[in-house]
Every structure is written in C-alpha cells, then in structure tokens.
C-alpha cells in the first residue's frame, strides 16, 4: 500500500537514509484509508497504514489510531476520536444552570469535580456572584483530592500499559480509598454533582477531617512504594526515558497544557499563575521536568500527588466556618427545614428546580487547572434559565494533538507508553 507522501525525501547518496520533513500528522480520511487496501504494493515499499483501536486495551477507552508504519516504526499517525461523543454541549443547552453540573461531571470522568468547578465558576462569573469562603475552601479541598485520585488512576493505567501490572493494583487500591472518602462527602464515588453554582451541594459531613487526615497519613508510605517499584527500576526507565519527547515550543504551538507542558521545563500552572478559588493563599510548588519525555511526565504526576497532599493539609488547618453556599435567594433553594413550615419556601424551592434561575446576558471564559491541563468553559447566556451556549475546552482534546508528534519515528511498542503518558480521558476528548 502506498500513501502519497511528499514529506519523505530520499537523500539519494546510496546510504539508504530517507529523511522526513513536514508534519507527522497523517491527514487521511477513513474512506481513503479503506480504499488503500485495494492498491497493490509497490516493490520495496514497506509502508502500510494500519489501524489500532478503538478496542485496544491500552488506548484508554475508545481512542483509535490510524498509523502509517514502516516495519515497526511509526511514520505518521492520526488519532480518530468521537466514539464517546454524546453531544454534552448540546445537552447543556437544554438543562438549567442548576442541572448543568450533572451533565458536565460526566465529561472528564476521572476528574469530575473539576468539570463541575469550571461550570460553576463560569455561571458565577455571569451572575457576578462569589461563593462564600467555606464553599471556596471545600471546593479546593475536593479538587485537590480529585487531582490525587486522578493521578493515581494515571499511575495505575500507566503501569498496566507498560506491563507493570502490580502498579495497577497499587494505584487502584489508593484510588479506592479516595473514592470512599468522596462517597462519604458527596454521596457518590464518581460523577458527584457536588460543586454547584453558588457553592457546594452539602456541607462536609461529621468526621470529614479525621477521615481525610487518616487518608493523608497513610499515603506517603504507599506513594514511596511507587518509587521502590517503578522509579528506580531499570526496565521502567528503559521503557520511558527518552521516549516521546516534546519541547516547549511544540507544546505552546499545539496548545498543549498541564503535565505535558510542565514536563518540558516550562512552569505554567493556572493555580499559581492565574489563581482562582483561594490558591493564592496556599503554599505549593509547580513541578517541572527537564527532558519532556514519558519518564518526566510519570514523575511529575507522581510528585503532584505529594504537592496536592501538601495543599490538602493546609486546607485542613485553615478551613473557614460559615455557609457552604451563597445565601442569595435568586440562586439558592431554601433549606429543607423551611419547606416544611413555609408555603413560600415550598414555592420558591419548586420554582428554582422547575424553572431554574435566570442569568444575565453575557459571555465569559473561565479556566481551571485540571489534572490534565487547562480545563476551560466558554459560556454564553441570553438572559434565560439555560446556557445559550456551553462549550468546554477539554484538555485531553487539545493534548491529543501532540500524539502524532510524539509517536513519529518511534516504535509502535513505545506508542503505547506515549498514549499512556498523555493520559487522555476519552470522555473529555469527545464530550
């Protein structure tokens, strides 16, 4: 099979070396790729287009890759996405602002609280209200815990993809402890619908501080096990070091954010550089790598768990008292106890949940630092009770564009390590 590729030039000096110029992105439609099957191969041409996924277990859900290979070497590649597309942006236009978090929380299902947060922050920016301090700190607490659980999921799947199956069990075990805490606080292990416009759904339950502390105290030893199992291990380093290298200029050009950008040595973290919530009041370090390879991305995510633990400890010390949601009658339903004794409260409650609250006309873009990078929400209101347009800038969607650049020239077996290190969550890619 042959794909017309003007980007390969033969050096023509008997060395047999062919140099590639131009883009490693394979821009070929699926129909054209299928038609290639009938084209007879030219003598000596080893190139072929093969398909990987969407059911390949290492591709994190339903990512499909169209790969142009020469032997075992990846020449060009095209990520084909959309298998998980459920039209959540369209659905978001039908739901009220109070129902919105239920919808967006299902996008990036490994870090659902960030989706709720960015949606709520965008709604609050349009309403020009601010959540009370306790709500802000609860949000921060939950998001940092969620960052830890999301990075643990990465540690688990990254190990699994590379054949270190025990890492999967270690990561899953820790994440399970966290999900139990989430269940206690929010009522659900995932897809919490906990952070809502105006604050959070409920106050922290009794004993949350002890539970969180117990979790934090059990973590350092268990995280060190990753270091013992993986970080220094020669096989692990051989598989990751120098594989899938990206530089800062490429990252900026492609809009890549999060641990991928930081792995190239560029320190950019929205929590520090454009602080939202109360991140300007807590102390933490932004971790950067030096080589921009898979190993740096692994190490950054592992150590970001430790940084998040630092933040959580500060939050535990400084959690303010007060309301967990804004006492703005336009936005907040009355407390449950009032409904039993007051007809007006019942009507008020009914109106908020059937009609929703109206949001003044306008448009706003809000971004937060999710475990995968910049998670943004562009929201347009026409003055009604539903968002006129709700667009989520998924970090995985944009980060996935660097995949062909990371894989070009490498072996297919390294491709699995690379996909894993990009850490795409397909729910976030396809929305």
């Amino acid at each position: 099979m042959t794909v017309a590729d003007p980007t390969i030039i033969d050096l023509g000096d008997d060395s047999g070396v062919r140099r590639r110029t131009g883009s490693p992105v394979l821009r070929l439609s699926e129909a054209d790729a299928a038609a290639l099957a009938d084209v007879p191969a030219e003598a000596g041409d080893q190139r072929m287009v093969i398909n990987m996924g969407p059911q390949h277990p290492s591709t994190h859900g339903v990512l499909r890759l169209m790969l142009e290979m020469e032997g075992e070497t990846v020449l060009r590649c095209k990520p084909i996405v959309g298998y998980l597309h459920t039209g959540m942006e369209k659905t978001g236009e039908q739901l009220s602002y109070l129902q919105g978090p239920t919808n967006v929380t299902r996008m990036d299902y490994a870090s659902p609280l960030f989706n709720e947060l960015v949606f709520s922050l965008a709604t609050e920016a349009l309403l020009e209200i601010e959540a009370p301090p306790r709500a802000v700190w609860i949000r921060m607490l939950m998001c940092e815990l969620n960052r830890m659980s999301s990075h643990l999921l990465f540690q688990a799947t990254n190990g699994l993809d590379l054949g270190a199956v025990s890492a999967m069990i270690y990561g899953w075990r820790l994440r399970e402890d966290m999900l139990r805490l989430f269940e206690k606080i929010t009522g659900l292990r995932m897809n919490h619908n906990y952070i809502r416009p105006g604050g959070v759904a409920a106050d922290l339950p009794d004993g949350w501080r002890d539970d969180t502390l117990r979790l934090l105290d059990s973590f350092p030893d268990k995280l060190d096990e990753f270091d013992q199992l993986l970080t220094g291990q020669p096989i692990w380093r051989e598989r990751l070091q120098g594989v899938g290298v990206l530089n800062t200029a490429e990252c900026l050009a492609l809009g890549v954010t999060g641990p991928l950008l930081r792995s190239t040595g560029y320190d950019w973290d929205l929590r520090r550089d454009q602080p939202y919530l109360a991140y300007d009041e807590v102390d933490f370090d932004v971790l950067v790598g030096s080589y921009g390879d898979c190993f740096d991305r692994y190490a950054i995510r592992l150590n970001e768990i430790r940084e998040s633990m630092r933040i959580v400890r500060q939050i535990l010390e400084r959690m303010p008292a007060g309301d967990y949601r804004i006492q703005d009658k336009k936005v907040t339903p009355p407390p449950r106890a009032r409904i039993d004794e007051s007809m007006e409260a019942l009507i008020h409650h009914f109106k908020i949940f059937t009609e929703g609250f109206k949001v003044p006309e306008g448009e706003v873009y809000v971004a937060v630092e999710s475990p995968r990078g910049e998670l943004g929400c562009y929201m347009v209101s026409d003055g009604g009770p539903h968002p006129y347009r709700m667009h989520i800038r998924g970090p995985s969607f944009v980060n996935l564009q660097c995949l062909p650049h990371l894989m070009a020239g490498g072996l297919l077996a390294d491709g699995v390590a690379i996909i894993s290190s990009v850490d795409p969550i397909m729910g976030d890619v396809d929305r």
Binding site: G87, G362, D382
Partner: protein, 177 residues
C-alpha cells in the same frame, strides 16, 4: 459582512455617536472583566499576527456559536451581529493575560481564514467547529469531521438541529390472553 461596518459610522447612530473603542485597530469590549476584540473576518489574521508579536503565543480555545435563536445580543458599537460567531481565546504567558476574539460569520457564506499557520493547535478545534456548525476554514490542512462520523449529515450544534427527533417505533399493546 462587509468592510463598511467596521468604522462604526453606519446604522444611523445619530449626530454625536460615541466613539468606537479600538484595540489592535478593531472594536474592543469588556465582558465580565475580560477583554474581547471584535475583528472582522478580513482583519482576523492581521490581529492574530499582532497579538502573537505581543506575546499571545498560545491559542487555548476556538469554538463556534450559533446566535440564530438570540438575535438581540449586545455587541459593541461598530460590530454588526451575524448568525455565527467564532470565538478564539488566546493567552499570554508572560503577562498572564487572556484576550478573546469574536469573529462574526454570516450564514450565507460561513467561511473564515484558518488560524492553523499561526497556531497549529487550532487544527482540531477548527475541525470541531466545522463538524458542529458547518463553518469552513480556508487553508485548513484537513477540514473534516472530527467528533461525528465522516458520513454524518447536518451540523449538530446549530440551533435549528433538532434534539431528540429520533423516531421511536412503538409496537401495539400486547393482546389480552
């Protein structure tokens, strides 16, 4: 969409119409504390080039909006609303500053220049806008559907694309035994 709207002198604003506020030579507005530029399609590449030289090196987001169900939206003086808008968010890391560009795109000719040459990261985002709104980007390297299947007909995020219109086939009630 024509050039004459740009200078803000049309539409009979009265004798002493307030002056159009300009930045980068295009109308600028502030929305909830965020700076928004309103270039026309012809001005877009020039404005983006200037923004890039000012350090706005990253295009974080590009998306389409269909305003057909919201005709009376407020726009700064000198900008005439069209059915579609393409919204581009750019970020300056050094100044930690964001700027948003809102480009009006008319319904009868939904094309605008691609930002791929300036920001290669817009490739997937422009494909998404094409997929969801049917906006075409000139000089885009691979303008094809990205989230919907390749053979899909229609543009789902347009306001006239119905939701839940899949016919449900009901069977008759089971007969009494």
């Amino acid at each position: 969409m024509t050039e004459e709207h740009v200078d803000g002198t049309d539409e009979g604003e009265g004798d002493d119409a307030p002056e159009v506020e300009l930045a980068y030579g295009v109308p600028v507005a502030v929305s909830r504390g965020q700076r928004v530029l309103h270039p026309t399609r012809d001005q877009l590449l020039g404005v983006v080039e200037e923004l890039r030289s000012d350090g706005y090196l990253v295009c974080v987001d590009l998306c389409g909006v269909d305003y057909s169900a919201h005709p009376g939206r407020s726009l700064p003086l000198g900008v005439v609303g069209e059915r579609f808008e393409v919204v581009v968010n750019v970020l300056n890391h050094l100044d930690r500053d964001r700027v948003r560009l809102r480009v009006q795109v008319p319904e009868d000719d939904p094309t605008l220049p691609s930002l791929f040459d300036q920001y290669p990261g817009t490739e997937a985002m422009e494909r998404e806008a094409y997929d969801m709104f049917g906006l075409t980007f000139d000089d885009h390297p691979d303008l094809s559907r990205i989230l919907m299947p390749e053979d899909w007909v229609g543009y789902p995020l347009r306001k006239d694309f119905a939701v839940g219109s899949v016919p449900v086939q009901f069977k008759g009630a089971p007969e009494a035994r």
